[in-house]
Symmetry: C2
Subunit: 268 residues, 2 copies
């Protein structure tokens, strides 16, 4: 009797080949041999099933054996395709980062070019919407690190920095357009020890913003995710805040103000 019952098999290989619609197929970097194509399809299936398990039961409950069962295959077979559970987590992490990045980019792009306040609002709402739609995957990205799992920086920093780069793009764009308000005269001074860090960031990303605005942008960044995390992770009490959409909208508006952005709709 096989170790895994083999029930619940997921339609194997029925999935229509993506590049099979006429023509010699550009083939770009696509897998060439049938074996490679079958392999790529299996890997994609594993990732898809992993994503479903992740969304349903959370990252720490993600089990390669369960994925194997759903795939209609014995557990040791999936190790032909995925090095380890960690590896699968990394793949899902990258995928989630990119999905969030895509959602944010699309939301920002839908706002008129000069409406920097509106762009910031769109970015924030996109993050919150995605997080509420995919709480387990959001937790994988921004929650407590999964025990025993360390995301490989060289593979995740790229996708993982898309949101902050989008935010920086909005802020610096506003600054260059002369539409980013400087902090008031009574505003807290930027500590001297931060100057080096901020200078490095400015150089690396080719920014023009002065220290005060850069530091406030960082605050808006962490605060945005703080608000989203509190909501997704259930830190607000049971019935404390019921109008959460309005609460978030207000927080976003205040944060935009803190960052120096103009009110939404105020295009140049």
């Amino acid at each position: 009797m096989p170790e895994d019952k083999g029930e619940r098999a997921v339609e194997p290989a029925v999935e229509p080949a993506v590049q099979s619609t006429g023509g010699p197929a550009p083939a770009a970097p696509g897998p060439r041999t049938p074996r490679e194509r079958a392999r790529a399809r299996t890997v994609a299936d594993i990732i898809r099933l992993g994503r479903e398990h992740l969304a349903l039961h959370g990252a720490a409950a993600l089990s390669l054996r369960a994925v194997a069962r759903d795939l209609g295959v014995v557990s040791s077979a999936v190790y032909r395709y995925v090095e380890s559970r960690e590896e699968l987590l990394t793949l899902l992490l990258i995928e989630a980062y990119n999905e969030l990045g895509d959602a944010v980019d699309a939301a920002v792009a839908a706002v008129p070019e000069g409406d920097f306040g509106g762009q910031f609002g769109a970015l924030g709402r996109a993050v919150r919407d995605w997080a509420l739609r995919e709480p387990a995957r959001y937790a994988l990205l921004f929650g407590s690190p999964v025990p025993g799992y360390q995301a490989p920086a060289e593979r995740t920093t790229g996708p993982g920095t898309r949101v902050i780069f989008a935010l920086i793009g909005i802020l610096d764009g506003a600054f260059r357009a002369g539409r980013l308000a400087a902090p008031g005269p009574g505003s807290p001074a930027v500590p001297a020890g931060l100057a080096g860090d901020l200078a490095a960031i400015r150089a690396e990303s080719g920014l023009a913003m002065p220290d005060e605005l850069l530091a406030r942008g960082a605050l808006a960044w962490t605060s945005l995710f703080g608000a989203v995390s509190f909501e997704v992770f259930g830190q607000y009490g049971e019935g404390t805040f019921t109008a959460r959409e309005e609460l978030f909208a207000h927080h976003l508006a205040v944060l935009a103000d803190v960052a120096g952005l103009p009110a939404p709709g105020a295009a140049a």
Copy 2:
């Protein structure tokens, strides 16, 4: 051969009885019979070992069997004292909430009474210091929920709300002392849908602050934990921010300003 090797036994029962120093011992609600006292000591040992494992390996890696090994006892024996792994997690959660609450209360109390800005800064630094000292336990409180584990609200809301109550106390105290600045005229209006929530909060906690300041207080709250979580969970890149203490200090100062608090040291 026993299932657990029984090595690494932790000094059992050697621990000097806490209330054994002379006198008839107040005995208050303390366990009376020797059996109850031994039981209480074992439960305390389990919690202590659990705390150590939690701090070392994280919440999801907390294993009752490992605790049993360290206790020098077979795994089934710990179920005499703790209902389940969840139960132990809940005990550790409550303990951690209270430890954080104590740290915050002590830090705030060390600041002169009328120095509301200083109190806010002390609260924020206390949260950050504790979080950096106890990252795994902080993650248990404010990170992604542990999979399959739902904290029982009736036992955790009390300890879990100590920080926000301390923060509210500072803000409302400042407001009653006439030292909480109202938001500027151009400040974003509080959405109408939030009025009900804010009124309920105000009534329940006997607050005097108007909606605008209450909403900004909530923002300062979530933003504080957002900044701490980013630092503890490693969301800042590798070498992006090196002067993290200064960064946090600046964020705190801006957040105090956002909440309407006066600068630190400006006692009445």
